[in-house]
């Protein structure tokens, strides 16, 4: 550890006894910390959670507010206090990111256990549609086995090239499951959106009220402006109108072109509306984040 670099530099060579020692110490400390949380008195639990949340959030607040050192490099010595703090913030970033990834991985285990509990219950109690549950469990097991097996065959230099030339059974099976089945099933789900758009549009565009009439009119203009043949025919009519009225090219009659009307709708109505919504959402997100960070929001059950 170099004193000049910062407070949190733990860098040891691979296979070093120091590295092993730090791993063991880290493991013991984290297990002890988790176990200790179970024995914390109830009245202390909230302050611990509040402090943890605040410290975690404070890192990102600091990262945003503190002046960022230009061209941060681990091999250079920071110039002064401001840059030293900035170096430490940058250095801690992968550590904090990895921490959230480790937590997410642990929680994924909980999610999978929920999934399996529901589907095993469905299967063993022979509830209605139990065979869907069986399919899910078998698919999951097959994907895990062949996924890990395939990954293990791809370890080492040049392994990928060898597999590309002569794939084995396991590589073929994994490709069949992933590229041949899962990706295509994804595509199927995505493509049925087209039909859902059609049915939703049919319901929404029926003239029932002033709003739906406006929606229909605007949608019709935008749709027609995307059809080349319709635009061509419409523009001919606009040109004829301009000639008959003696209007200059680029004059007021030009505003009647479908593409111009569509551009006006998009630039003047659509984009400002979307920006207004985004603005409100950003402010709402800020308020929500602030309440969570400072833990000033009461629980739902209180």
């Amino acid at each position: 550890m170099n004193e000049q670099q910062g407070f949190f530099h733990f860098s040891f060579p691979n296979g070093s006894p120091y590295l092993l020692a730090w791993i063991i110490i880290g493991l013991i400390l984290s297990c002890g910390f988790v176990a200790g949380l179970f024995f914390v008195p109830k009245h202390l639990r909230r302050p611990i959670v509040v402090t943890g949340t605040f410290v975690a959030g404070f890192y990102f607040v600091l990262k945003w507010l503190w002046p960022t050192a230009q061209n941060y490099s681990e091999t250079e010595v920071p110039r002064g206090f401001v840059e030293r703090v900035s170096f430490n913030i940058e250095y801690l970033l992968p550590f904090v990111s990895n921490f959230t990834q480790v937590l997410a991985a642990l929680l994924l285990g909980l999610g999978i256990s929920s999934l399996l509990r529901i589907h095993f219950t469905q299967l063993f109690k022979k509830h209605r549609d139990w065979f869907f549950s069986l399919t899910l469990i078998l698919s999951m097991i097959a994907m895990v086995i062949f996924g890990i097996w395939d990954w293990s065959t791809r370890m080492g230099p040049g392994a990928d090239d060898k597999i590309a030339e002569a794939p084995g059974f396991v590589n073929f099976a994994k490709d069949l499951l992933f590229d041949g089945l899962l990706i295509n099933l994804d595509a199927v789900m995505f493509s049925i959106i087209a039909f859902f758009i059609f049915s939703a549009a049919y319901r929404a565009f029926r003239i029932r009220s002033m709003e739906s009439t406006i929606l229909l009119t605007v949608a019709l203009i935008v749709m027609l402006s995307l059809m080349g043949a319709i635009v061509g025919l419409w523009d001919d009519q606009v040109n004829n109108l301009a000639k008959s009225t003696g209007s200059d090219p680029g004059g007021i009659v030009d505003n009647l072109r479908l593409t111009t009307i569509k551009a006006w709708i998009q630039d003047t109505l659509q984009i400002p509306s979307i920006r207004a919504m985004d603005l409100g959402l950003a402010v709402g997100g800020l308020a929500m984040s602030l309440r969570l960070w400072l833990s000033i929001e009461k629980g739902v059950s209180n």
Binding site: F12, V77, F190, A287, L290, V300
Partner: protein, 370 residues
């Protein structure tokens, strides 16, 4: 014309918005009565849950692909209030999630609701489900649940993407009443087309305040409104200033190497290297006698002088003007961009950093783990 260094203005502005929020939260905590307008989508919650109770079918709640963040937590909070209503009538609920971390939180919150309502034994752990973190597998799983259990009400609130319409249309197909909200604005039109009620934009964040009337949330909501008013005022004010500025400020425009208006425009760095050669004609129809550049802060001719001083040429009100000055940073550059050139000598304020001394005492072969 740039009058101020706007580098840290956004920080100041966000701090002002935070001050609005905190002030109103404190105001509401102090007992001040604050008004919230009626939100149609939220008044429909009781109707939707009541319908589910009458039909004996479950209420479905889905936060989309939201993760464990402000959006996901807000969605789960709304679902907790819906669950509270459902618990009173013993209506079954289904909450489907696409993110394991949010699943764990949702499970605890919903369990808490049952406990708070005095019926912990009625809590069914399978009512809160992790389905899949893969977008269309999640959509397929939830759509299947909608068809199999024929849900009577569907609350689709959170981060929605392409799967939004699959679920909204599936729920519509089984005749469910739907209340939706999306923080992804591109999905809002789809939800408006397919659902009975939609919370638009930040109504999603207003929901928990509206439903609970908790002072902190209500105060925060009023603070949000103040913040939005401030932003709108700023937009209007700065638009006016910008419009006036365009009329009265000296306009910069590119000149060619001979100092005349022309079509072959060359940009050079401080070292004289050619950056680009633009052959377009930049004409503003409002000033037909002048030619304008795409960006007014980019004069074409930049000549290096002694002591980091540079001379630039541009036109002002139709006349070619030459100016010279010292370039340090954006604060001190009056009209030209810092991106075009760099100081030739090291800045005394920021000398090069020293290299870290290599620690050779325990050097071994191989890489390092940090």
């Amino acid at each position: 014309m740039q009058y101020y260094d706007t580098g840290k203005y956004h920080v100041f502005f966000v701090l002002v918005l935070i001050a609005f929020l905190m002030f109103n939260i404190l105001r509401a905590r102090g007992g001040k009565s604050l008004f919230i307008r009626r939100i149609a989508g939220l008044t429909a919650i009781d109707e939707a849950v009541g319908r589910s109770t009458e039909m004996g079918r479950p209420v479905l709640m889905v936060p989309g692909l939201s993760g464990l963040g402000p959006v996901g937590i807000q969605a789960v909070r709304i679902f907790a209030y819906i669950t509270k209503t459902a618990v009173k009538f013993s209506t079954p609920i289904r909450i489907c999630l696409a993110e394991a971390a949010l699943y764990s939180v949702a499970q605890e919150i919903i369990k808490d609701v049952y406990q708070a309502e005095g019926v912990p034994e009625k809590y069914d752990p399978t009512s809160v489900r992790f389905v899949s973190d893969r977008q269309f597998a999640f959509a397929a799983g939830v759509a299947g649940l909608i068809y199999r259990e024929r849900v009577a009400a569907a609350f689709l609130m959170g981060d929605w993407f392409a799967e939004s319409l699959i679920l909204a249309e599936s729920a519509n197909a089984v005749g469910a009443i739907q209340v939706a909200a999306s923080t992804v604005t591109t999905q809002t039109p789809f939800l408006i087309a397919a659902c009975d009620y939609v919370l638009i934009g930040d109504e999603f964040y207003a929901a928990s305040a509206y439903l609970s009337r908790e002072p902190v949330l209500v105060g925060s909501l009023v603070g949000q409104d103040w913040a939005k008013i401030a932003i709108v005022a700023l937009v209007i004010g700065l638009t006016a200033v910008s419009s006036v500025d365009r009329r009265v400020s000296p306009q910069l425009c590119l000149v060619d190497e001979n100092g005349k208006h022309g079509q072959a425009l060359k940009l050079r760095t401080i070292d004289g290297a050619l950056v680009s050669e633009e052959k377009e004609e930049f004409t503003d129809p409002r000033y037909p006698d002048q030619q304008f550049v795409k960006t007014v802060y980019r004069p074409v001719e930049i000549r290096p002088l002694e002591d980091n001083r540079v001379k630039i040429a541009f036109t002002e009100q139709g006349k070619v003007v030459e100016k010279d000055g010292v370039f340090r940073n954006r604060n001190e550059s009056e009209t030209w961009s810092k991106t075009l050139f760099k100081p030739r000598t090291p800045d005394p304020l920021f000398p090069p950093r020293e290299k870290v001394q290599e620690d050779t005492s325990d050097s071994t072969n191989g890489g390092t783990n940090s």
